[in-house]
Symmetry: C2
């Protein structure tokens, strides 16, 4: 952890209210467990933060998810509290959340809340913190949500595009280039808790599988940087996490097989699931993959939602007021 | 394995004799165990291959290493035999080897022999095979040398530069970009057999270490592709293999610590050792690192040899005749 460097808030000319769109994100990207993430253009949460004359943090939800509003129990609240520890004379803040990324979807809902809150508050305070600082604050929210300080959803939400967390301690975030990509997502509405999805993983892995995995992540990063779609596709293979976690997600095999047949480059579980995603080279293919996903989940009778979207190169957007 | 596709030899206008320089290579590159490799401009073997009227393979060594000359027991011989299985009416071949890369140095001596032989023979046959084919043949030599079909030395020897073996089965070789790099190598003249160096590795690794490793290899590939020297340096970390293997190499810690202090980006064990290498941004730094290495090994009293060189972007060179 870098030493805390207390900053002054309230630059005279900053806004009194800021609205942001905080995007859904896909962590892991198949072979990059805990280190890769990608921001989506759809769905996103809408959050508005404003200064209040009363001190402290107040959280208002305009959605129906029944999330906690006590700051210490809310991921956005915890992230803001972490941030305010490094602000001298920090203001009172009221944050209004219109959550559109379903909690528990595997699409970085908690990361959107935590990252959106600190990005909005930083804008309100006159941008006194760096992006790396904001990731650090938002990780406190992830720790509340999943028990682990991870940054694979938060980093792409804040930096945009595709990010690599080379290291958490010390924090080392690398933005990767990528060619244009379409992303098709299906969220089958079953519950997979991140903490449960971690529990079922073995603490040890075979060296030969680890080697295969680091060959794949190296190939994926090279494919992104080179804009080589075929290499991206070949590298989207996970021999460690997916064989275990996919068992928790009905329809996984059918979606994967059908999507590849429909021309997807590859894909798998988004974060710890249950959402599944597929990367595609064209919109036409992405729509074909969506049809595959719909067919699979229509047959299961499970409720589900699909998205056909693109990579969000900006990350959290500050909206004009 | 791709299906064998027997080719005809003896294009009428091909040469009767070909000389090649087959470079030393550094496998693993710290965090890329079994998947990354880099070709050096120095040292290299010189090999001459010529057609003979008698069938079969004849191997002549002009060096003093006492390597086997029976084709079935010689890495170059085995690689050529593998190749000739796919050649209809293959010629008799005599190969003369002036080996300058010491066997057992950890600098890809066996790979240089195997790869050099098949590249030279392919030239003699009118370039009927692809680079991927040549890697496949040369791997038979590596299997003889170390018991395992690995390609992390052979691929950079044949393709040049820095290569990623994303997968061995099926073979998937990716050439990586890289900014200019100087490489300082020290070969302390102790014996570390590749097979022994594999024996001491655990068959299982902690998932958390595997994650750290694939974060590093992803960072290293991104650093190479972006030409980001600092990222390359930060990513040259190995939490799995180096802690075990470095114990076999006296002077390892002193060389590493001193080299980093002298400005090296990073480095570690070359292949399975005992050679150590350091990547540097400038020739001046590379020479400073060489002084560190000399100081360490002068103090131990071990015989050693150093090289200050650069990345060989060409791979095996066909020499003008």
């Amino acid at each position: 952890m870098p030493e805390k460097n207390i900053k002054s808030a309230f630059a005279a000319d900053t806004a009194r209210s800021v609205q942001v769109q905080a995007p859904a994100t896909i962590a892991n990207l198949v072979c990059g467990f805990d280190v890769l993430g990608l921001a989506l253009n759809d769905p996103f949460d809408v959050m508005t933060i404003r200064r209040t004359s009363d001190p402290g943090i107040r959280i208002v939800h305009t959605d129906d998810f029944g999330l906690p509003t006590v700051p210490e129990q809310n991921v956005a609240g915890v992230a803001l509290l972490e941030m305010l520890q490094e602000v001298d004379g920090g203001p009172g803040l009221e944050i209004t959340v219109d959550k559109r990324i379903k909690p528990g979807s595997g699409l970085g809902s908690s990361a959107a809340s935590a990252a959106g809150a600190v990005v909005a508050a930083n804008e309100l305070l006159g941008n006194i913190f760096s992006k790396a600082d904001l990731v650090r604050f938002a990780m406190a929210g992830e720790k509340l949500a999943s028990g682990v300080k991870h940054a694979d959803n938060i980093s792409p939400a804040i930096y945009g595009g595709i990010t690599l967390i080379r290291s958490i301690f010390p924090l080392d975030i690398v933005s990767l280039e990528a060619p244009p990509l379409y992303v098709t997502v299906v969220h089958p509405q079953i519950e997979v808790k991140t903490s449960d999805a971690r529990e079922i993983l073995r603490k040890e892995v075979l060296l030969k599988n680890a080697i295969r995995q680091w060959g794949n992540i190296a190939g994926l990063v090279a494919g992104f940087q080179k804009g080589d779609y075929e290499l991206i596709g070949r590298s989207l293979e996970d021999v460690i996490i997916e064989p275990v976690r996919s068992m928790l997600i009905p329809g996984f095999e059918e979606v994967k097989k059908g999507s590849l047949q429909a021309g997807a480059l590859g894909g798998g579980i988004s974060g710890s699931g249950p959402s599944l995603f597929m990367l595609c080279r064209s919109k036409e293919t992405a729509l074909g993959v969506e049809r595959v996903m719909k067919k699979v989940y229509d047959a299961t009778g499970l409720a589900y939602h699909t998205y056909v979207t693109t990579v969000n190169g900006t990350g959290i957007r500050i909206m004009p007021t």
